[in-house]
C-alpha cells in the first residue's frame, strides 16, 4: 500500500506491505540505518525514534500507522556530514557507548528528555533511559553524557575537569 511518511522533515511516498514495521521501513525503504533491531518485540529500545518529538519504539508500529506524524531519527539530529550535535558530542566526551548499537536510540531518548526537561536530576536521567537496554556500558557513562549535555545546553560552557 502507498503511504506518506514525514521523516526528518522530508515527506516521502512509499510502497510498503501493511506488515512492514516502521523500523524496517526506515532501514530498508529509506536507507536510514541508524535505528537498530535488537529484539523486535519492544523491550530493548534499540529501535527508538521520535514520533512528534516523543520517544517511541519503531519496532512496535507498522509503517502504515506512522503517516501524518513527524518522525525523527538519529540522521535527523545530526547537524551535517562529519558534524556532531551537542548531545552527540557529550556522548563522545564521556565515552557513553562502546559497541554503538544502542547508541542512536539513547541519543534520541536524550533529545526527547532534554527538550522537555533542561535540568534533569540523575534519577530523572536514569528513569528516562530505563527503557533502553545497554549491555556494554553499565549505563554510568551514558548518564554522565546526558548530564553533561544538559549542563552545556544550559549555556554553562566550561571544560570538564581532568582531575581524578
Amino acid at each position: 500500500m502507498r503511504i506518506e511518511l514525514n521523516v526528518n522533515g522530508v515527506t516521502r511516498t512509499l510502497d510498503v506491505e501493511p506488515r512492514t514495521t516502521l523500523l524496517d521501513c526506515l532501514r530498508d525503504a529509506l536507507d536510514l540505518k541508524g535505528a537498530h533491531a535488537g529484539c523486535e518485540h519492544g523491550v530493548c529500545g534499540a529501535c527508538t525514534v521520535l514520533f512528534d518529538g516523543v520517544a517511541v519504539r519503531s519496532c512496535l508500529m507498522f509503517a502504515a500507522q506512522a503517516a501524518g506524524s513527524a518522525i525523527t531519527t538519529i540522521e535527523g539530529v545530526t547537524p551535517g556530514p562529519g558534524e556532531l550535535s551537542l548531545i552527540q558530542d557529550a556522548f563522545c566526551e564521556t565515552h557513553g557507548l562502546q559497541c554503538g548499537y544502542c547508541t542512536p536510540a539513547m541519543i534520541m531518548v536524550a533529545h526527547a528528555l532534554l527538550a522537555d526537561n533542561p535540568e534533569p536530576t540523575r534519577e530523572e536521567i536514569v528513569e528516562a533511559i530505563s527503557g533502553n537496554i545497554c549491555r556494554c556500558t553499565g549505563y554510568a557513562q551514558i548518564v554522565e553524557a546526558i548530564a553533561l549535555a544538559a549542563e552545556r545546553m544550559r549555556g554553562v560552557n566550561r571544560p570538564r575537569s581532568l582531575n581524578k
Binding site: 506491505e17 506488515r19 512492514t20 532501514r27 536507507d31 536510514l32 540505518k33 541508524g34 535505528a35 537498530h36 533491531a37 535488537g38 529484539c39 523486535e40 518485540h41 523491550v43 530493548c44 534499540a46 531519527t73 538519529i74 540522521e75 545530526t78 556532531l84 552527540q88 558530542d89 556522548f91 563522545c92 566526551e93 564521556t94 565515552h95 557507548l97 562502546q98 559497541c99 554503538g100 548499537y101 544502542c102 547508541t103 542512536p104 541519543i107 540523575r122 536514569v126 528513569e127 533511559i129 530505563s130 527503557g131 533502553n132 537496554i133 545497554c134 549491555r135 556494554c136 556500558t137 553499565g138 549505563y139 554510568a140 557513562q141 551514558i142 548518564v143 581532568l162 581524578k164
Partner: protein
Amino acid sequence: MTATGHHRYVSTDRRVREDRRFVAGKGQFVADIDLPNTKHVAVVTCPHAAARIKAIDKRAALKMPGVHYVVDGAELAAATLPLLTGLDTPNVQRRPLSLDVARYSGEWVAAVVADSRAQAEDAAEAIDIDYEPLPFVLDAEEAFKPGAMLVHEAHGSNVLLDKTFVWGEVDKDFAASPRKLALRVKWGRSSTVPIETFGVVTSWDPWREILDVYASIQMPRYADQIGLALKIPTSSVRVHYDVDVGGSYGVKRGIKHTVLCGYLARRLGFPVRLIEDRLENMRGGDAHGPERLFDVEVAFDNSGLVRSMKMRALENVGAYAGRSPFQLGKPIGAIVGPYKINSVKYQAIAVVTNKTTQDAVRGFGQGPTNLALERCMDEVANVLGLDPLEVRRRNMIRHEEFPYLIPSGTTYDSGNYETVIDKVLANTSYQDLKVERDRLRGEGRLAGIGMAACLEPSGGNATFEALLNPAITTSTFMDSCRINIDGLGAITATMHTTSSGQGHETLVGTVVGEVLQVDPDTVRVTRPDSLNSLPSGTPVGSRMAIMLGGAAFHAAQKLKDKLTAIAAHDLGIPLERAVYERGEVFDRNAPDKRRSCADLINIAHRYYHRMPEGFEPGLAAEHVYQVPTGGTLPTKDGRVQMYPCFSFEFHLLLLSIDPDLGRPEIVRYRLGHDCGTQINPKIVRGMTMGGIAHGIGAALYEEFAYNDEGQLIAQTFMDYLLPSSHEVPAVEIVDHETPSPHTVLGQKGSGESGYLGAPAAVANAINDAIRPLGISINTLPIKVSKLGDLIADARAKKGN
C-alpha cells in the same frame, strides 16, 4: 618507553575515536550491509527437546511467493564437513542443520531462502516436518549418571570430558588441616546476550573464487573454520573485519550460520543473508553460556588460612559442543584466585544434555569459578566467626611475593592486592558500611555486606586446550600490526580482527602515537580483510591491550629505529648519538645537526642514494607478536603457564532486602581495580561498569530457564531479564596500577573486569543478609521469588 615512565598519550583522558561514527548512527553493522540481489534466510526449528526427523516436506514452501530454495540437514551434510570441536569427540558431531536427529528445542532443522525475510518466515511455517519425539535429559547430574539416556548414541555416554588434576599434596594437606568445609554452588545458565544478534552476509564470486563474508563475529580461526567446513581453501575466504559488531562479550561465534549461508551462496549464485531474530538467537543461536555446578571442599586452619582445595566442576554444555567445554579449563590458570592455597585437586566434567548448545562467554569460565571460590572464603570466615575481609587478607598473596607460582603451574606476574583493598577502604570505611548495615537491620530490613577479591587473567594464552585435549599441541597465540608511513608522512596502522566496542582503533592509535611521539589522532587505523591480514588471535581472553598493543608497539618501534638509523647515516654520526624526538632526529652532541621528519621521509621514499646500505626503501614495518611467557605445553602432571598477566579487582557492596518481598537492592557499591597501565582510562572504566552490569544480571535476573518438557521458557526479553539503568547502581571505582613486567607498557587486560567478581560479591552480600535467619543460598540467579520463599520458610521455622 618504560613500563613505569611518564607517558605522553598513554593513560591520558583521550576520546575514543570510534565513538564519532556510532553517535551519528553511521556504524557499519552487518544488517546495514546491502549487497545487490541479496536474498534472505529464515530457519525452521525443532519444537521438541529431542526428536528423530523422519521426513521434511518442502513442497508447499517452495511454491510460496518469493521463495528460492529450501535446504535441509541431509543436503548440507553431504556438501560440508561437521564443525570443529575442541575436545577429541568425533562422535559428537555438530552441524548447522540437524542430521537425522534434533537434540534440543530450537535446533535448526531446515532453512528457507526468499526475497525478503518476511517471505522466508512465511515459507518456513509451511514446511511440514514429521518428527518422532525421543526421550530427553536436561539435568547435568542426571546426564552424568551411568545408564543415563544418551544424547549422542554413537558417543556411548553423555560425558565429553572428565579429567582430574592433582597439583600438590592435596590429601596430605587435607589430613593436616584442623578444619574443613564443603559447599555446593551453582552458576545458572546465563550469558552476556548482546543487543545485536548474530548476522552474516555471504557472497560467492565464482570468477575470482572468493567467498566474501560480512559478519557480526568474534571468534578465533573464523576463516579457517569456514574454509574447512565448506571444503574450500582459506585463501578463498575473505572475511571483512571492518564490520562493526554490536556487542559480543565472547558469544558471537556464528559458525553454523556462516557455513549455512556460505553453502547457500555458493550453491545459489547470489548473496545470502541471515540475521538472527531474537527467537532464533535465544533458542538456537550462540546465546547460551555456562551452567555449572561446583562441589568445593576447602581445608583450613583456625586462623582461616586455606591450605588446600578440592573442586569438582560439572558443566551442562547443551546438546553439542564446539570450544565451550574449554571454559572448564581456562580457570585453571587462576584456580586459587588471589590466595596462597598450597594444593588443589580439580575435576572438570562436561556433559551433553538436550538443551541449547552453550558458547563462549566473557571470562570463559572464570566468573563461575570465582563465585565458587569467593563463597568458600565467606563460609570459612563464617564458620570461624572471623571477619571475611580479614580472612581474605590473611590468605592473599602479598605484593613482595610476586612473581607467584600457583599449584597448577601458572606464574602470576605482579599485583598489589593489599594496596587496592586499602584504597577502597580509604574511599569507604568498612566500619561505616557495617554501621549502615546495622541501621538498615534496625529498620527491619535484611542487610548484608558482600565482597569479592578476584583476578582477571589476561593475554589469552589458551594452553587450557592442550590441558583438556592432549591431541592439541598449540602453543602459539599471536597478534599483529603493520604500519606504513607514506611518501607524505601519513601514518596508517592495521589491525586484523573485528571489534565489538573495545576501542581497538583508539588503542592502536594511542600506542603508535606514543612510540613515534606523534598525536595519536593523526594515526589512521584500518582493518584489512582476512586475505590482506596478518595473524590475529581475535579479542578473546582479555588479550587485546596486551597483544595488539604489543604488536603495534613493536611495529612502531621498528619504524622509529629505522628513522633513527636513516638519520644517523645521513648525518654521518654513530647510531648511539642519534636522538629521536617527535619524528625528527638530532645529534646528541650537536643538537643543531638534525634531520626533520620531512627529510627522513624523503630519504626513505625517494633518495635511495642516501639510505644506509642494505635497507629496504620506504617506511613499512610489521610485527607478529607471540604472547609473553607463552610457548610451553603442559607437563605430564598437568601444569602449564597460561595467561601472562593478572589484573585484580576487589568488590565491596552493601545490599538491603525487603524481608517480606525478598527484593534486594544494592545500596552502595565500591570497586578497586588494578589492570596495570591503563592505555585509555575512559575505555577501562566503561568496560568495568559494563562488566558489573553483566554480573548483576547473572547474579539476580538472568536465566535461560527450561520447563520439564525441555522447552526454553525464557526465550524473549520479556522473560530473560536484562538489567536496565534502574538495576545498576552508581559504582565508585578506585584505580591502582601495578604494571606487568611482561608487557610493552605495563598494561594488563580489562575486557572482563567487573563481570568476574560482581556475581560473587552480590551472592556474598545476600548471604550475609540472610545468615541471621540461619539460611544460605548458593544458586544463581538469586531471583526475588526464590529469595522471598527461602526467607519466608526460615521465618516460619523460627516461629516468626
